[in-house]
């Protein structure tokens, strides 16, 4: 039977024989290992970044704008000189830029959910957390891109951190670790909300106050006492202080403990929650 049975959009044909050959030719392979499945999802994350680079633009343009605007508009007023303020604000904007990026993992998981592709992944015989872990690989690239953009911008503007390359790398590493933990909050949100837009709105509504009500832009001792109390306990404040100190000072153990402790708590609560919701989505 080689008769063409239909013509398609482009005028080609679907050969019944070809379809039959295609469906008969595969012996079922060994199941993919957990690692192979996670890596395959990581590859998917990379492909998405390549096909939809606008995503990266979104998360890098805002922080760049903030650095320029705050440094040159408010820098003199806040810190006495633009260069002093630049050195103060840059590690903070690094924190903000990477933290903003975490919202995207919630948006992308919600997109998979609402578009139906999650159904296919969940019906596959694979290690079930693989899609989530694989997505983290894609996130990691986004975090590093956001961090690199800010650091490079800083260097162009004359930022020369005292502790040099190792200090900057340590700060970026700490920020990335915290962001991984925070991303589980957004995957949970992503699995609960109805549309990617809703996730984006909810995400940024939470992220904006949390990052602004910290010491990213101003020193906490200039704040009224009520606000200062909040800013002092905000983990973003500790993260910002720690990355400032890692880049150009001496890091205090207390800040590291708060940052890593928060990361552990967030992961311990939201990772299992995400996995559970994912299985039932």
């Amino acid at each position: 039977m080689t008769n063409p049975i239909t013509t398609n959009d482009a005028g080609g044909t679907i050969e019944e024989a070809a379809v039959r050959k295609a469906i008969s030719s595969t012996p079922r392979p060994e199941r993919a290992s957990a690692l192979a499945a996670a890596l395959a999802f990581g590859w998917r994350g990379m492909l998405k970044i390549r096909h939809v680079p606008e995503q990266l633009l979104d998360v890098t343009v805002t922080p760049v704008m903030f650095v320029l605007m705050f440094t040159y508009l408010f820098g003199g007023a806040i810190e006495g000189s633009t260069s002093a303020y630049r050195d103060f604000v840059l590690p903070g904007v690094l924190v903000m830029a990477v933290i903003f990026t975490t919202v995207y993992c919630g948006i992308s998981i919600n997109t998979d959910l609402t578009k139906g592709v999650l159904d296919r992944f969940r019906s596959l015989p694979i290690w079930s957390p693989a899609p989530l872990l694989g997505a983290l690989l894609g996130d990691c690239v986004r975090y590093l891109v956001a961090a690199t953009v800010i650091i490079v911008l800083g260097l162009i503007l004359g930022f020369r951190p005292e502790n040099g390359v190792p200090g900057v790398l340590a700060a970026v590493g700490l920020v990335v670790i915290f962001s991984f933990a925070l991303s589980w909050v957004f995957t949970t949100v992503g699995l609960l909300m109805r549309s990617p837009n809703a996730v984006m709105n909810a995400g940024f509504m939470a992220i904006f106050p949390i990052t602004f009500l910290s010491n990213v832009y101003v020193r906490e001792d200039t704040l009224p006492s009520g606000l200062k109390a909040f800013v002092d306990v905000n983990p973003i404040t500790h993260l910002t202080t720690a990355s400032r100190d890692l880049m150009g000072g001496t890091v205090q153990a207390e800040n590291l403990i708060v940052v890593l402790g928060t990361a552990i708590v967030l992961t311990a609560v939201f990772l299992p929650l995400t996995t559970r919701l994912y299985r039932r989505a």
């Binding site: 398609n8 295609a22 993919a32 192979a36 096909h51 139906g116 019906s123 596959l124």
Partner: protein, 326 residues
């Protein structure tokens, strides 16, 4: 081919969402190697049933075995044998067609070169080679469906779930999908096909279960089902609704029965024979009744439902339709 005579055995399968009894005690016995149709209107519980059988949803009651494995206790074994082509095309829109197939190959355990080779083979078979490097979001509905089905075949499944594979497709794309399903059936793949169209089930399926309000209300071969409804139907639309009682009388006289449809200008009669149908229409004209249009066809899902349940198929749940529009 496989060791079991039944590919799917479901007993009293239930799923409730709050007050809504989406699936309310479904029994199914699907033989291995057959295309089995599940026919019902939107909201009848078809998709929910498929999602339970494909291990995506946990049933609230009842039990089911797929290819001999319990869908709850042995979900992982079930996943290793089935593939799902969901109602929403379950492919990644931000990737191109080839990448979608390679990804699934990798996830199913193929090594990268084998996954690539397999992807190209399927693209070729489903006439998507030219579109291979285009992003799926730019595909037509028919191409997307073909890719979706190809994605379900990266590793040949023993059982394939097809949820409304032709809803929203133009007739030509629909025929292509039908051809693919036939080729799959010829090759011995068991297929559970959910559809709203009696014609589709008639064309493809060897057995049909009609489902309504979460329950199976009739079961049989397409021929049995159509026989229970009365074969075909003549549909007539009048220019003047005032003339309907007169038309009803004439059609009843000529064809033995007539049903008034919700539209005040429409009525229909059971009629399997084209000649008698044409003759009845001519008789209407001879009596001065102006026929705006008429058609002779297979009974619609509505008529099947009317015959089986005494009420027309209702769209009593908009969830499925909205999901589709999204």
């Amino acid at each position: 081919m496989t060791g079991y005579s039944l590919a799917i055995e479901a007993e009293g399968l239930k799923k409730h969402f709050g007050e809504t009894k989406a699936v309310d005690g479904v029994n199914l016995a699907v033989p291995t190697g057959a295309v089995y149709g599940v026919l019902g209107p939107n909201g009848a519980g078809k998709t929910t049933t498929i999602r339970m059988l494909a291990t995506l949803l946990q049933p609230d009651g009842g039990s089911a075995r797929v290819l001999g494995h319990d869908i709850v206790r042995e979900a992982d074994a079930v996943r290793g044998l089935v593939s799902l082509t969901g109602q929403l095309a379950s492919v990644d829109e931000d990737l191109n067609g080839r990448e979608n197939l390679i990804l699934l190959g990798l996830l199913l355990g193929l090594k990268r070169p084998a996954a690539k080779e397999r992807a190209d083979e399927l693209l070729e078979a489903f006439d998507l080679t030219e579109a291979a490097t285009r992003l799926v979001k730019n595909y037509s509905g028919g191409m997307r469906r073909r890719l979706d089905i190809a994605a379900s075949l990266v590793v040949t499944p023993e059982l394939m779930f097809l949820d409304e594979p032709t809803t929203g497709l133009d007739p030509r794309s629909r025929n292509q999908v039908w051809d693919i399903v036939r080729a799959l059936a010829e090759a011995g793949t068991t297929i559970l096909l959910c559809t709203q169209y009696l014609e589709e089930a008639d064309q493809l399926a060897e057995g049909i279960a009609v489902i309504d309000h979460g329950r199976v209300i009739a079961e049989g071969t397409p021929a049995q089902l159509k026989a229970s409804v009365g074969g075909g139907a003549l549909h007539v639309r009048l220019l003047d609704p005032e003339q309907r009682p007169e038309a009803e009388r004439i059609l009843t006289e000529r064809l033995g029965s007539a049903v008034l449809e919700p539209d005040p200008a429409r009525l229909s009669s059971q009629c399997a024979d084209a000649e008698r149908g044409a003759d009845a229409v001519a008789e209407l004209s001879r009596n001065g009744i102006t026929v705006a249009d008429f058609s002779l066809g297979q009974p619609s899902l509505d008529e099947v439902f009317l015959a089986l349940t005494g009420h027309p198929a209702e769209d009593d749940e908009t969830a499925e339709t909205t999901a589709e529009a999204a």
